[in-house]
Symmetry: C2
Subunit: 209 residues, 2 copies
């Protein structure tokens, strides 16, 4: 048992094997998810979360520095799970970009739609890094001599995709997520794949959001 409980303050280590730690964190995330269906995030206290999780309040602080860190962790875990379920292949880069965009749209629509809060959250901090990592992976496989630093492209594209998806989500009378994903692809793809070949995968109709 040589586990540091909080190796990086505020960013709980996921590489733990101790079942007690996994269990506590899972229960805390689940409880927050449950409570978010009933109340606004701001109206939920750490005590409530701990109670719902049948854990002591001090245990909460053993894992997360505050409420926001838990929300962050929960969001990241859920998003990771969603994109893992739909295994995204990088055989077709444009298709991968569209699939990722769709994933972000779907995630926003499905999880933050509960009572309609957490739109103003620092979701940015949890789902953007995941998207960024996927782009980085994709660009590495692509293996073309990059115009600029690959990591910068990945970051930029990730923020662009998230910003666009977020805007779509906050819109009333949303267009279908698939359509939005296609639009995002056409707008963002030149960032990732130079400004050379776009419109290769058959979406020639002008996408108007």
């Amino acid at each position: 048992m040589a586990q540091l409980l909080q190796p990086e303050k505020g960013t709980p280590e996921t590489g733990t094997t101790d079942p007690r730690i996994l269990r506590s964190r899972r229960m805390l995330m689940d409880s927050l998810g449950r409570l978010l269906k009933k109340k606004e995030f701001e109206d939920i206290s750490v005590q409530e979360i701990a109670d719902d999780a049948t854990l002591n309040r001090a245990t909460f602080y053993l894992h997360y520095p505050d409420k926001n860190a838990l929300l962050q962790a929960m969001t990241e875990a859920r998003f990771r799970d969603l994109i893992k379920r739909r295994a995204i292949t990088f055989t077709d880069c444009h298709g991968a970009l569209r699939a990722i965009a769709l994933g972000v749209c779907d995630y926003l629509a499905e999880t933050t739609g509960c009572p309609s809060q957490l739109a103003r959250m620092s979701l940015e901090g949890s789902i953007i890094p995941v998207v960024e990592g996927m782009f980085k992976e994709g660009l590495a496989l692509h293996g073309t001599a990059p115009r600029v630093d690959t990591a910068l492209l990945a970051t930029t594209a990730a923020w662009a995709v998230f910003g666009a998806a977020r805007r779509w989500f906050q819109t009333t009378n949303r267009v279908p997520a698939e359509e939005m994903a296609a639009t995002i692809e056409t707008v963002v793809s030149p960032v990732l794949f130079g400004a050379s070949q776009q419109l290769e995968s058959g979406n020639t109709e002008a996408p108007l959001v």
Copy 2:
């Protein structure tokens, strides 16, 4: 005196004329700015801010729902001020994009460099909308038939620019801001101006970050 004090909860109305309100808000922002040079944001209490501003703590809550809202407001005000000082002309669109990118880089470097905090903040929520508004203005002047919704392009580009600038700022051994701004321009410009004419303004050397 018919001023609603908080027309939108959490987003203090800027259209007030009452000198008392302006004065209080200015003093609170100034105090937060001062305190941020000494301590981390998390370690500053509302009481401290109010004391420094020689205002009652209750007065604080009359204007902002919490600390974060004040930080948000302060950030937005400062960034607005910075980009107003360097009047950005939209005669040359690519130049404008580069100038905006430079503005974001400079802002991050100059204001969040104090003791090095507020990097993890929801700055996103205050400076991205400003950038977005500038892009929207520029695209309106440009007046070309857009491939997609102009507002979406503005949002996407704003997030892309901010994300890239933020990454640059968090990097150790930063390249000069001007160089970064040029890189951001080449990466983001196809988002705004279709993927047709880039490299028109003489930056033909390959920018490597």
